[in-house]
């Protein structure tokens, strides 16, 4: 017998500024199933979820929750009915503690006195985190000081604390490491066994096959189909998503790196990283692997002059360079695509144009005056080169789909024509087709001699793209691996502290 769906969305239309974003979308989830929702960047996944939970109004269509027609006015109402969303863009309040975030709006008090029962909340926070298998987050930690990965876990803990019947996870693993993902999957299985339904949005194919029961694919705002995971395959799903064959996941790399262009010598910063030395050749991709919190981003921020380092030197083409501010780094030819695009990569309410221009002000001006024609030319060229999907270059960054936001950040940095490009999780939240586009762009850059440093928590990406891999563990270099000798096990062993390799390249 077929169970009736717990949520049923039929014939949903949605327009933004007159542009159709969802066209007659049908979507159903059964009780207790893990349902994957997939599609390219901008296909409308997040929009569909936001309509379901009342953040956006639908322009047409019917939503049924447990066979009853509903229209939630706001996420709070959806939450009261048992639907919780963990959004793609995190909703942590940065200056509150973990425990305060967890009980936001649901504070536990002593009876009806209104006096907060901090002890109880503290205890429960600890328990929730423990259930998630998280022991390195303290309830009194300030949420904003945690890594994005940890913040993500706090959000998940918050959803669990609300006893939801349906949890929607919009790219929950984008910022998590393999180990944290495993933990999360455990929790998801547990929830499923308790009868909770889960809508799972992700661009990572492996995950879909690991945990999902069924999959619905959206393309350009339309439902392409719903299938049992067991009846489908990787290529099937890709074909549904992009409407054509995509071929190999990673473009072929046949590059021969040139001479050393970038050298980092013994840089250290107390409590964060120690004696980091590495070099990159022209046209080479140096992958940087490690667990969340291994200090990879911190090293890059220090190199780029965004934070200071205690000591150490940086050389470009053998010449010592002093970098005290990102401006110095940019002038030396370094670009840096940060991992957290919301807080460090984009001005969310500014248009695409201004975002791209912000790192290219010199190029589009003469004597400090912006030359509109130069600006338009640069922006159009970059939007085309990266195939950014937007209504126009005046569209606000925050209204772009996650993947397109990432492309805007990329565009901003390609504009400066960097000699050395640091990429921190460059394909986080990017769909499989766009990922390949980004890989192709990275490959093209290396062909023209750009040295690439790429931090990634996705091992397939590290393995598929890097010429050489540096693995970090707790702020130190654990080992260097060549493309030929690298594999998943070796990287994980080094990242978890298995191997130490003290010589430097």
């Amino acid at each position: 017998m077929k169970a009736s769906p717990i949520i049923e969305m039929a014939n949903i239309d949605k327009y933004f500024a007159g542009n159709p974003v969802l066209k007659a979308v049908d979507f159903q989830v059964l009780p207790g199933e893990i349902h994957a929702l997939m599609g390219e960047n901008g296909a409308g996944k997040s929009t569909l979820v936001k309509i379901l939970t009342g953040i956006y109004r639908r322009d047409q269509g019917v939503i049924k929750w447990k066979n009853k027609e509903v229209v939630f006015k706001n996420p709070k109402q959806a939450e009261q009915n048992g639907i919780i969303v963990i959004h793609q863009e995190l909703n942590i309040i940065p200056h509150l503690t973990v425990s305060q975030n967890l009980f936001l709006g649901k504070d536990i008090t002593y009876g009806k006195t209104g006096i907060l029962n901090k002890k109880e909340m503290h205890q429960r926070t600890k328990r929730r985190l423990y259930e998630l298998g998280v022991t390195n987050i303290h309830p009194n930690d300030i949420a904003g000081n945690l890594s994005i990965g940890k913040q993500q876990l706090v959000e998940i803990a918050r959803a669990l604390a609300a006893n939801a019947e349906m949890i929607i996870m919009d790219e929950p693993t984008a910022a998590l490491t393999e180990r944290e993902i495993e933990r999360l999957f455990h929790v998801i299985q547990k929830l499923k066994n308790q009868g909770v339904s889960i809508i799972y949005i992700s661009h990572r194919m492996e995950e879909i096959f690991d945990i999902c029961d069924r999959i619905t694919v959206l393309r350009d705002g339309q439902t392409i189909g719903t299938k049992l995971i067991a009846d489908t395959s990787f290529t099937d799903i890709v074909r549904m998503m992009v409407g054509r064959e995509l071929g190999d996941r990673f473009p072929e790399r046949v590059n021969v790196p040139g001479k050393v262009i970038f050298e980092v010598e013994n840089i250290s910063k107390e409590d964060l990283f120690e004696n980091i030395s590495f070099s990159v050749r022209k046209g080479e991709i140096l992958g940087i692997a490690g667990l969340m919190g291994a200090g990879r981003s911190e090293v890059m921020e220090a190199i780029f002059g965004f934070s200071n380092k205690d000591h150490g030197a940086i050389r470009i083409n053998g010449k010592l360079v002093t970098i005290k501010h990102p401006r110095d780094a940019i002038e030396a030819g370094i670009g840096f695509i940060t991992e957290d695009r919301k807080s460090k990569g984009l001005i969310m309410h500014a248009p695409i144009r201004e975002n791209i221009a912000s790192a290219n002000l010199k190029a589009i001006s003469t004597y400090g005056v912006i030359v509109n024609s130069k600006e338009t030319l640069l922006i159009e060229a970059l939007i085309n080169r990266l195939q950014i999907r937007a209504i126009s270059s005046e569209q606000e960054a925050k209204s772009l789909s996650g993947g397109n936001q990432q492309k805007v950040v990329l565009a901003k940095w390609l504009g400066i024509n960097p000699k050395i490009l640091i990429l921190d999780e460059p394909t986080r939240g990017v769909d499989i087709g766009a990922k390949k586009e980004i890989y192709k762009i990275i490959n093209e850059l290396t062909k023209s001699g750009v040295a690439i440093i790429m931090i990634s928590s996705e091992l397939p990406e590290i393995l598929g793209m890097s010429d050489r891999i540096m693995v970090m563990h707790e702020g130190k270099i654990a080992t260097f691996l060549d493309r030929q000798e690298a594999n998943q096990e070796r990287i994980m062993a080094a990242a978890t502290g298995g191997v130490r390799h003290d010589s430097t390249y």
Binding site: F306, H325, A329, K344, I347, A357, S358, L361, K362, V369
Partner: protein
């Protein structure tokens, strides 16, 4: 409603408000639409508008400057001091503007290098600068400044029948509009207010941008002060007190977000005109200044509430 029409509504909202208020007051008072009154009004508005222009830059960087009134007073007093000591008027005025620049830069440096919140920093300097003014003037007005044509021109003069301060206001408006919309510095102001971390990572020296913004505001405040000083031919130690409120009000009515990164100087000009029209119109109608304050407050609230409706 589509994003496009909403956008333009937010943009013309203040202008619509100005037109409506002007017409209401025009109907209620016979003297409102006389040439004399309009010119008078423009001159009155110019002082607040100049300060508010600077305040727009500050607020765009997500800051605030409470010390503008005190800078106005101190700058005016020092300029008056230079004039009475016999300095060439043109040179004295230039010195006054430089003093404004420096007083503003001090604000900027405290805020960026000292990492003090703009509200607190300028609250402190507001008191300090006012105190310094009282010390310098001994609490008494400085009078008998200069009878040079040039100095008198600034506050009292007319060019082709238009009050000189109004002309200064218009010139500064176009100049600052250009800086904000069309220069690298303008872009940096918006970027820093929109997201300071992202801007810094894009190579923008946020601290430097902020120091310049406060310096500019200091200079514009003294410019406004010199207009008043010239008009009265004396520098008052209490000049400019509470002017920060009208300036902030003009910026807010003009639709600039206190969170930074969003807003336009055109809005500020309209905001300053709205405040000026209300002051002037209610005066003509002999409404007590007590009620005037209530009306102004209501207008500020309405502006902000309407602005919220059209994000």
């Amino acid at each position: 409603m589509t994003q496009l029409t909403r956008f333009s509504l937010a943009k013309i909202g203040p202008l619509l408000g100005l037109v409506v208020i002007t017409f209401i007051l025009g109907i209620l008072s016979d003297n409102f639409f006389t040439l004399d009154n309009i010119l008078n009004l423009l001159r009155q508005v110019s002082v607040n508008a100049l300060i508010a222009f600077g305040m727009t830059f500050v607020i765009l960087t997500a800051g605030i400057d409470l010390s503008v009134g005190s800078i106005l007073a101190l700058g005016s007093a020092l300029t008056a001091g230079l004039l009475t000591s016999g300095m060439d008027p043109l040179l004295a005025v230039c010195m006054g503007l430089v003093i404004g620049l420096i007083l503003g830069a001090v604000n900027g440096i405290i805020i960026t290098k000292g990492k003090v919140a703009p509200f607190i920093a300028t609250l402190a300097t507001m008191t300090i600068y006012r105190g310094a003014t009282l010390v310098f003037t001994d609490g008494k007005p400085i009078t008998g400044l200069s009878d040079s044509f040039l100095f008198e021109m600034i506050g009292k003069g007319y060019v082709f029948g238009i009050p000189f301060p109004a002309i200064v206001m218009v010139i500064m408006f176009f100049l600052l509009y250009f800086i904000l919309q069309q220069t690298v510095f303008g872009r940096q102001v918006y970027a820093v207010g929109g997201n300071e971390e992202a801007s810094t990572l894009s190579g923008i020296k946020a601290d430097r941008v902020k120091i310049w913004v406060y310096s500019l505001t200091g200079m514009l405040s003294v410019l406004a002060g010199i207009i008043i000083t010239s008009r009265l031919n004396s520098a008052q130690p209490t000049a400019g007190s509470m002017y920060e409120l009208d300036a902030i009000a003009a910026v807010v009515i003009g639709g600039t977000s206190l969170a930074g990164g969003r807003g336009r100087i055109t809005g500020t000009l309209i905001g300053a005109l709205i405040i000026g029209v209300i002051d002037n119109g209610l005066n003509l109608l002999h409404v007590s200044s007590f009620y005037q304050q209530i009306v102004k407050g209501v207008v500020i609230l309405l502006a902000v509430l309407l602005d919220r409706k059209s994000p």
